[in-house]
């Protein structure tokens, strides 16, 4: 796993593509979660993305290793040992190192990299230099060519500038070598401020316990074990702790091997950047929940009810019902009183929700009432009352609450905002939905049948009347009375007149109750249609935006998880 472990077999490669993929995932998460992620976390995320871009754009396969640590732990001494020359000043006065010093191993130019790091003091170690020149130390396996070794100022110095400089460079290096000593290994600053904050970077971290010459051999083991224990408490798993003594040179070769392994693997920089992405994605992950509430495709009844009321559907439905009744009565009523109804206003017309084809087509051939409606674009339905609007508010808010349950506040606010569309859009959409819904249904067959029956009965009664009148005239003129056919004791003309009138009146009564039932059925049908339209609006204007927020949340979460993988 770790590039600082010896043996390249153990080094699981992290390709540039994988790193780019994670960086893209992080960028995607930031884009999707924009506005709902913590501002600081987001800024940190953007910084990391920029860092990945800048670092991967640099040419050359250099690996940047930083020696960081407390004042007086011996960073500079170790640095000089690794370089093989006294480059960094070593002294008893604290703090010693004010500016970072870089040593570039091998022939390849690292100017671009060092400019990026903004390290001014540079020292070049010629190719394969370290081990050859330093023959006294014996042949050292592994070459350090391609290494940029940095000696950092103390991170616990009382000089604030030193601390800042150290922190600036620590954000950019590939491998951390924390140098500490038996006096300082339990310092809060090392553990609380650095190791704990860099737990995601355990694969590119080495801790060196220096100055072991000050302790007995057994004591070194004890202290090392204690340091490992403290690091584990910090959350650093599998941390590598080396023991060295810059004074006697003990353990320095081991450190050199680790560093050489990191250089040979050539992917420490990618591991570090991946760890950065992991760390920042981990922090961003706290801004999203582990799962989203499940939301059905369609809107729920309460919401549709509220929207229906706001859209004036009860008014429309009752108009439809009355219209049906009126129409039915005018078609099936007693022919002698039908004309009275024609004087009443058409309830649907009053709402400018005409029934479509028939009347409009009559008025202007080829132009239907539906065309007129869509040209005018608005019904004359009364606008929603504050009460109806309030009911919509309430219902949408409840949808938002349910959908935002268990999400972090920023997300649940976003869901609530998505569920309560502001402005007149919703009202418009509802109006359009009502207007698009056909209010017309097939005229029932019984209207025709009853209408004909009424006409026949009316005709019969007229025939009876005429017959009777004729008979009366004949009687008055004292003409010979023609034989009048009789059914039982009653004459046929009388039967025709009275029966026609009576039956017509009865039929009108029966049709009236039929019309009531039919009107109720029609009203129910239209109400269903209108409700479906309104449910469509709810799904489109309320449920869909909410689902969109939830989808963004899911994408953000998934992208972050991918970036952390």
């Amino acid at each position: 796993m770790s590039p600082v472990l010896m043996g390249s077999k153990q080094v699981k490669g992290l390709t540039a593509e994988e790193l780019a993929g994670r960086s893209e995932s992080l960028a995607g998460a930031l884009e999707q979660g924009d506005g709902q992620l913590d501002g600081e976390h987001r800024a940190a995320g953007l910084e990391v993305i920029e860092k990945v871009r800048a670092r991967t754009a640099l040419r050359g396969g250099h690996t940047v290793v930083a020696l960081a640590g407390a004042t007086g732990s011996g960073k500079s001494s170790l640095f000089n040992l690794l370089v093989g020359e006294d480059v960094a000043p070593v002294g008893a006065r604290r703090p010693t190192t004010a500016r970072p010093t870089a040593a570039v191993f091998g022939g390849e130019s690292a100017t671009e990299l060092l400019d990026w790091l903004a390290v001014g003091q540079r020292h070049h170690v010629p190719a394969a230099g370290g081990s050859d020149r330093d023959g006294g130390r014996g042949a050292v396996p592994g070459t350090l060519d391609g290494l940029v070794l940095l000696d950092l100022p103390d991170f616990d110095s009382r000089v604030v500038e030193h601390r800042r400089e150290a922190e600036r460079i620590l954000a950019l290096v590939d491998v951390f070598v924390w140098v500490t000593d038996p006096q300082k290994y339990a310092d809060a600053r090392l553990h609380d401020d650095y190791l704990r904050a860099l737990t995601t970077h355990n694969t590119v971290t080495v801790v060196v316990l220096n100055q072991t010459d000050r302790l007995e051999r057994d004591a070194v083991k004890q202290v090392r074990a204690d340091l490992v224990r403290l690091a584990e408490l910090d959350g650093m798993k599998g941390l590598q702790v080396l023991t060295t003594s810059a004074r006697t040179g003990e353990g320095v070769d081991d450190l050199r091997l680790r560093v050489a392994a990191a250089v040979a693997g050539q992917n420490a920089s990618r591991h570090r950047l991946a760890a950065d992405i992991r760390a920042v994605a981990g922090r961003l992950r706290s801004d999203v929940a582990d799962s989203e509430p499940v939301l059905g495709e369609s809107a729920d009844d309460e919401l549709v009810d509220a929207l229906s009321r706001a859209a004036g559907i009860p008014t429309v439905v009752s108009a439809v019902e009355r219209d049906y009744r009126q129409e039915a009565l005018s078609r099936t009523g007693w022919p002698f009183t039908r004309w009275v109804r024609a004087l009443r206003p058409d309830p649907l017309k009053r709402l400018r929700l005409d029934k479509g084809d028939k009347d409009g087509a009559k008025a202007l051939p080829g132009v239907t009432a539906a065309d007129v409606r869509s040209a005018l674009g608005r019904s004359s339905l009364p606008p929603a009352t504050p009460a109806a609007r309030a009911a919509v508010d309430l219902a949408t808010r409840r949808v938002g609450e349910r959908a935002g349950e268990g999400l972090p506040p920023r997300w649940s606010d976003a869901v609530a905002d998505a569920a309560t569309p502001a402005g007149p859009d919703l009202g418009d959409a509802l109006d359009q939905a009502v207007m698009r819904t056909p209010l017309r249904a097939r005229d029932p067959l019984w209207w025709t049948v009853v209408g004909w029956a009424q006409n026949i009965l009316a005709l019969l009664s007229v025939v009876g009347l005429v017959w009777l009148v004729v008979l009366g005239v004949i009687g008055w003129l004292q003409l010979p009375e023609p034989g009048t056919p009789r059914v039982g004791p009653l004459p046929v003309p009388f039967l025709l007149l009275v029966g026609g009138l009576l039956l017509g009146w009865l039929l009108a009564l029966v049709s009236r109750s039929f019309a009531r039932t039919g009107a109720r059925r029609r009203a129910e049908l239209i109400q269903r249609r209108l409700r479906d339209s309104v449910a469509g609006v709810a799904a489109e204007r309320i449920v869909a935006p909410v689902r969109e927020v939830l989808r963004r949340h899911r994408t953000t979460r998934e992208q972050l998880d991918r970036a952390r993988a």
Binding site: A92, R93, D154, Q183, K184, R189, P383, A388, D393
Partner: protein, 569 residues
């Protein structure tokens, strides 16, 4: 300190009063500054209890020198070497000391065994067997220590164990004299310098022990440290250098290494005037610092008060806006839109109006229901539409007020934790719907009463009876809500017509002046009821706030107590 006993008594009294004010002060609201202020309050209280009060009440008690410093600086080894006995455990694993050890002369036990100083720590005696943790202090008597002086081996100031750090700063605040131990590797660390800066600001007497110095670098480091101390305003602090040497088999420093320190300590112990001057310096510094430190607490109390006010203001504003919304909603005529308008048209247009008004059957039914139920029955669809309209308006405004207030709280400092504690605040209270229904019913009852009493006065009872009390009541409500301000287009005509027609009917019965008065009265009564309801809703926020609110007088009391101390200094 040089003053008479009576003056000291006055001072002691003032400091005790300040102490009890600090102890009584609370910072319950979690605003960003609170955590720091709480830490300050704890530290202040500790220093008053551990040092200022005991020192004021017994100026002649032995000098307490607290040995503090970084982890691994060799504090315990130093104490052991000074008293030449294993009194404090030393070791290579950091941090070593977690239980502080107080070493005193055998005859001066009485000063330390009670809770005169460090009342928060329990006393342990006997050998340093196990570690009892940071909640206690181990008392060890040693004749090697001169009388008049006690040493306290404190835990480290900078290790990973945070309890140690807290205890160490508490103990340092209880010291007459800091014996600050640092090493060649550490003397430029940021943490100890932070503490030294504080000591310098407070005027605490400090002596530095520079331990583990490589002999060859002694001169250089000493000089450097001395210059750093000068920069910090601690030029008078003596520096005792101890070279890095191997320890004796008992784990002590060799005799020669600590001689200077030992002789300085015993000289100080035996010189009552030198002791008194150190006590005076440290105690004076501590007393001087009380003013500014109490000031911080005063400021924190004010912050708390202001934050609570802001929160209260946010909820008040939200409900005031809601009441305003209701007032607007019922007076701008929009309540007559939509369903009510449709019902009214139906009522008038289909002839139902005349049918209902004139029909003797309807009249009888109205009277019967009123008589049987003893309560007004909603007068048909129109009355119902009005009722649901008003109820929905009130409830929507209440809901949105709750949401607005909760959102405001979330963004105000201190509001978010309160909301997390009372998540129900973000919604209107659960029984609100019923309350509103009852409110509207009660109001309608009141409107009917208004009609009845107005009718009796004007002897128009017969005419009212002809229309039915309920019918008149509904018409009155209509008139109350009818102002055509918010309507558009053709609606103005219709709604205006509604109002005009309704008004005509009423005027015919009561006269126009009376109608205007009745409508205004009906509106006013409704708003009063709504205001009452919203006040109850808002009280939930106030109640949540009451649990964490700071008494506004707390800041004044603290400032007064601090000023009193300053006055008698």
């Amino acid at each position: 300190m040089s003053g008479s006993g009576a003056e000291d008594n006055v001072l002691l009294h003032a400091v005790s009063a300040l102490r009890s004010q600090v102890a009584n002060s609370t910072l319950p609201l979690e605003i960003p500054q609170t955590q720091t202020a709480k830490t300050h309050r704890e530290a202040l209280l500790h220093q008053l209890d551990d040092y200022v009060l005991p020192r004021l009440s017994s100026l002649d008690a032995p000098l307490l020198a607290v040995i503090g410093g970084s982890t691994g600086a060799g504090k315990s080894t130093l104490v052991n070497s000074v008293v030449d006995a294993e009194v404090s455990r030393s070791g290579i694993l950091r941090p070593t000391t977690t239980t502080p050890v107080l070493v005193h002369h055998p005859r001066e036990r009485r000063w330390f065994e009670g809770d005169r100083i460090l009342p928060g720590l329990s006393r342990l005696t006997g050998a340093a067997s196990g570690d009892a943790g940071p909640g206690s202090v181990r008392l060890v008597a040693s004749a090697a220590l001169p009388p008049g002086m006690a040493l306290l081996d404190a835990p480290d100031i900078d290790s990973v164990v945070s309890a140690n750090r807290a205890l160490a700063s508490q103990l340092l605040a209880a010291a007459d004299l800091w014996l600050f131990v640092t090493t060649a590797a550490r003397y430029a660390d940021a943490v100890p310098w932070g503490l030294l800066r504080e000591a310098s600001d407070r005027g605490t007497a400090v002596a530095i022990v520079l331990d583990r110095v490589p002999p060859e670098a002694m001169t250089e480091i000493r000089a450097h440290l001395a210059s750093m101390l000068r920069e910090q305003g601690l030029a008078t602090a003596p520096i005792f250098g101890i070279p890095e040497t191997s320890l004796t088999p008992e784990g002590r420093l060799p005799e020669g290494a600590v001689t200077r320190l030992k002789s300085w300590l015993s000289a100080l112990a035996s010189d009552a005037r030198a002791r008194a001057s150190i006590v005076k310096q440290t105690l004076g510094g501590a007393l001087d610092s009380l003013d500014s430190r109490t000031g911080e607490l005063v400021e924190a109390s004010e912050h708390q008060h202001r934050a609570a006010q802001a929160l209260r203001g946010a909820s008040e504003e939200a409900y005031a806006a809601a009441l305003e919304g209701v007032a607007h909603g019922i007076t701008d005529g929009t309540l007559l839109r939509g369903e009510v308008l449709a019902r009214w048209q139906e009522f008038v247009g289909t002839g139902e109006f005349f049918k209902q008004v004139e029909s003797a059957v309807a009249r009888m039914r109205d009277r019967l229901t009123a008589a049987v139920k003893g309560a007004p029955a909603p007068s048909g669809d129109l009355g119902e539409a009005l009722q649901t309209g008003v109820a929905a308006l009130i409830s929507a405004q209440a809901e949105s007020a709750a949401t607005t207030a909760a959102r405001a709280w979330r963004s105000e400092p201190g509001g978010a934790p309160l909301l997390a504690e009372h998540p129900e605040l973000a919604k209107a209270s659960p029984g609100l719907a019923q309350d509103i229904d009852r409110l509207v019913r009660d109001w309608q009852g009141e409107v009917l009463d208004l009609v009845r009493s107005e009718g009796r006065d004007r002897r128009t009872t017969a005419r009212i009876a002809a229309y039915g009390v309920n019918g008149i009541g509904v018409i009155l409500m209509l008139v109350a809500f009818a102002h055509t301000g918010g309507l558009v287009g053709a609606e103005v005509g219709i709604a205006g017509g509604t109002a005009v027609l309704a008004q005509k009917v009423l005027e015919a019965i009561f006269g126009d002046q009376a109608v205007r008065e009745m409508a205004a009265k009906a509106r006013k009564r409704l708003l009063e009821r709504v205001e009452e309801l919203y006040a109850a809703e808002r009280a939930r926020f106030d109640k949540a706030l009451a649990g964490v609110e700071v008494d506004s007088a707390q800041a004044t009391r603290l400032a007064d107590a601090a000023a009193a101390v300053k006055a008698v200094r």
